[in-house]
Symmetry: C2
Subunit: 500 residues, 2 copies
């Protein structure tokens, strides 16, 4: 009897093996991680994939109604023609090839700066790993920068360097995953939001709790709406985190001091962990707008608010440097439970460390040339030129879109994007639905195919039901920007005519 | 009645708020992601944390029985004094600071190479993002390298660049997460293994299926053991992935062609997805040992094996370059389901892209100077010098540890590590257990505190019960290596004496 059973088992195993062989693939859509299917990251989604294809088709000589693709989908300043800051690149070159410190005739402060950093690299080489937390001296410079910015102390031990801010944001979110808890941890994120948040929340099996920004009041963040979103979320989630993006992405608003206080009080009332995405802190354009860090406001408010847990993020990819390809960022923790911090550091250690040259670029951001240094004048001139040009384009974009019929565009107070509303005619909406597309996706795809202009539909960031938007960067240089706006206007007029 | 209930609710909410305030922290050990608690990454674990502390204490003038800490815990060649390859660093400097192409007097092939690459960067700047898959021309060079290495075609569209091989390995593992499936996906990994695998499997909520390498036969990978591990795993897991590390980390074995065939047949029989960690493919020392890629062997075996799904990994951090801090790596997929591949690419897009200079370093690995190029002779000389020196140290380490009483050490056929077995006296084992430590952890901590030599206990990699090991790199330069071996011998003798 036993033998028979074992034989049966064996032959059924063989049968199973044969079936499996016939079924071809081990890993297919039906058995892949389901969150990989459901997560979305529109900034590099289907419209952008199509834009890249179109570029390749143009290169091969294909005939299109346009001769170039303009990528206004992503905050990628250098790709749009912004030139790097000379000081930064001299510093990186010295770290990569230390013999240049002697031979390249770089300014003496560059060489001094490079020597200081390279002495802190393992074996004096940027090819050695750093500690997972980053190179200590750079963490100290970050801490000095934060302390000076805010007027409150910052302990470098609470700063961790990472490959861009995205990596830090994802690492912090990971701490809130609880696979076996009865309720997922709810993460409050703005709607519209930068889809890193929605994508990571989905990928990690966390609960997305969207709070709507108020478009009518220039995308302000209102207490009632925070309260509504929080209370509703509790039916489904254990909501413990509030993410704020300031200046806003994709919405470009800059939060007032008062508004930040309100948010902090709300978070305190509900015992929420604060995540402050402040990567656009240097990108402030509107008269009267000023950047206030959450760290500063929390400290100004005193007890009990200055006891709250806060993680804030910064990056070398935005601001006036736009060094996206270098992958440099940091998180500063404030009031994190010490035991949690030890666990966090253990968790990131399996990823070894972030790129050393990205860490060095972060040093250039937080520890730039000082008045009197040989590099200072040129550095300041280049920095101011970039920021002035961005400010000019922020105004240009708002005015251009604001003047088009069927489009409403808020002021771009900060960051690198406009998020105009499209008043799509009902027939366009119907047409899109009949094609099983979001209406603003349909619009954006038509725009791309007819003009080569690549923007991201609002549905990729979230928006109030029945409203339609798109995100465009303000990054094309002025000439290209004018070209883009011309193409856009001409398409928009035809589109509205066709579906009116 | 309604009003009363709502008041009650409100006051209970206020009470809850007060309690929460008193309870201090939102995020504590009790409610953190439990996998963050359970995951371990010994290569940067408590022994290494203590080593860093000791270094800082020495700097501050503390008196210790040693004057320097020797970190043999991690495969970090530059930190241990290996010098970078000149060609690589000239190339990186040109990308970072293109004006150097005109001014730095670099060899003409460096400049030509740099120009070719920078033209493929967005806005001709390494500060622009690349596609998430990496820069196409570098992917093409990787594909050419693989095709030439294996003698079989490689499509660049199947190559994805990443920030080190670790990132690619983690990305591939993520596809197998299934939060709501009745059984976790089982991932077969060698024991001993590189703890990136155990840490990631734990963090992702996958199932670790360990198969033991056979220490008696120089850490070979045996079919019976694979079969045992697989069959036992099925009680608990849906086992679908087989990870192989070749050359082995921490075990240093190089798999024979025949052994690889056996493994492939085993994986085919059970319909397993193959992951081949081949980051040490250039590190082969033993006479008669040769590296065979899984991709090559699968293709040589023909149908049905050449239909199997395979992901293989490579890195700039090891080999003769040792550029760990640059963070460059790749995964090549073979026979991946096309729909799965689209999903994979979508998943990684939320992380934007890996560092451009890390991608450039990968280009230097796969597309080095050719005979006749101005840089070739120096490049070849430097490369050969590194590999010859590593080979010398591989022998030195094996012979040194092999000659110590109470230690058994296999031949270091490849990679960068020895994994000697410690025959610990029962009293040492008892002493460790009484301190609630793994015996080899106890040994390693004592070694560190008395001599400054930092190694990683075998328990961090996994080992057969009742056996004890440690991993040491072969990376200290010859003089430091001799110093380290002296310190080790003297400690070991005393330790064995004390606990005999």
């Amino acid at each position: 009897m036993r033998i028979a059973a074992s034989r049966l088992l064996r032959s059924s195993n063989q049968l199973l093996g044969t079936l499996r062989m016939a079924s071809a693939k081990v890993l297919v859509r039906d058995n892949i991680n389901p969150q990989v299917i459901t997560m979305q990251y529109a900034v590099r989604g289907p419209i952008v994939i199509r834009a890249v294809e179109l570029e390749k088709e143009l290169e091969k000589g294909a005939k299109k109604p346009f001769t170039s693709v303009i990528k206004a989908n992503i905050g990628d300043a250098h790709a749009m023609g912004q030139t790097p800051i000379t000081f930064n690149r001299q510093l990186i070159a010295c770290l990569a090839n230390p013999s240049l410190m002697e031979t390249a005739n770089f300014p003496s402060d560059v060489v001094k700066h490079a020597k200081e950093l390279i002495c802190c690299c393992g074996g004096k080489s940027c090819g050695a790993y750093s500690q997972s937390t980053g190179i200590d001296i750079i963490r100290k410079h970050v801490a000095d920068f934060i302390a000076k910015r805010d007027g409150f102390p910052c302990d470098y031990e609470n700063v961790i360097l990472s490959g861009g801010a995205s990596e830090s944001i994802r690492n912090v979110l990971k701490m809130f995953i609880r696979r076996d808890a009865p309720k997922k941890t709810g993460i409050m994120i703005p709607i519209p939001q930068y889809p890193l948040y929605s994508a990571s929340v989905e990928e990690f099996g966390l609960g997305q709790v969207g709070y709507f920004l108020c478009e009518e009041r220039n995308w302000s963040l209102e207490e009632d709406e925070l309260e509504r979103a929080y209370q509703e979320s509790l039916k489904k989630y254990d909501t413990r985190v509030l993410c704020v993006i300031n200046p806003g992405n994709p919405t470009g608003q800059v939060l007032s001091h008062e508004n930040i206080e309100t948010i902090i009080k709300f978070a305190h009332r509900h015992n929420l962990f604060l995540m402050a995405d402040e990567v656009y802190q240097d990108n402030i354009y509107a008269p009267g707008s000023k950047f206030h860090s959450f760290k500063k406001v929390i400290n100004e408010m005193g007890a009990p608010y200055n006891q709250m847990e806060l993680a804030s993020f910064h990056s070398v990819s935005k601001g006036y440097m736009g060094e996206c390809g270098m992958r440099g960022g940091y998180v500063e923790f404030f009031n994190l439970d010490p035991e949690v911090y030890v666990l966090f550091k253990k968790m990131i250690s399996a990823k070894l460390c972030s790129t050393i040259l990205g860490q060095v670029m972060m040093d250039a951001l937080v520890n730039p040339p000082k008045p009197g240094d040989p590099s200072y004048d040129q550095w300041l001139k280049e920095k101011n030129a970039v920021l002035a040009s961005l400010k000019e384009r922020a105004t240009l974009v708002k005015e251009a879109y604001g003047s088009i019929e069927g489009i409403k565009c808020n002021e771009v107070q900060g960051a690198m994007y406009a998020f105009p509303q499209l008043m799509l005619p009902p027939r366009a909406v119907e047409k899109a639905r009949s094609l099983n597309m979001e209406p603003d996706f349909f619009y954006a795809m038509q725009l791309l195919e007819s003009t080569g202009v690549c923007i991201v539909p609002g549905s990729g960031f979230g928006q109030k039901e029945g409203t339609y938007h798109f995100r465009t960067t303000i990054l094309p240089q002025t000439e290209m920007m004018k070209d883009m706006l011309e193409r856009f206007k001409s398409f928009h007029t035809k589109f509205m005519e066709e579906y009116k």
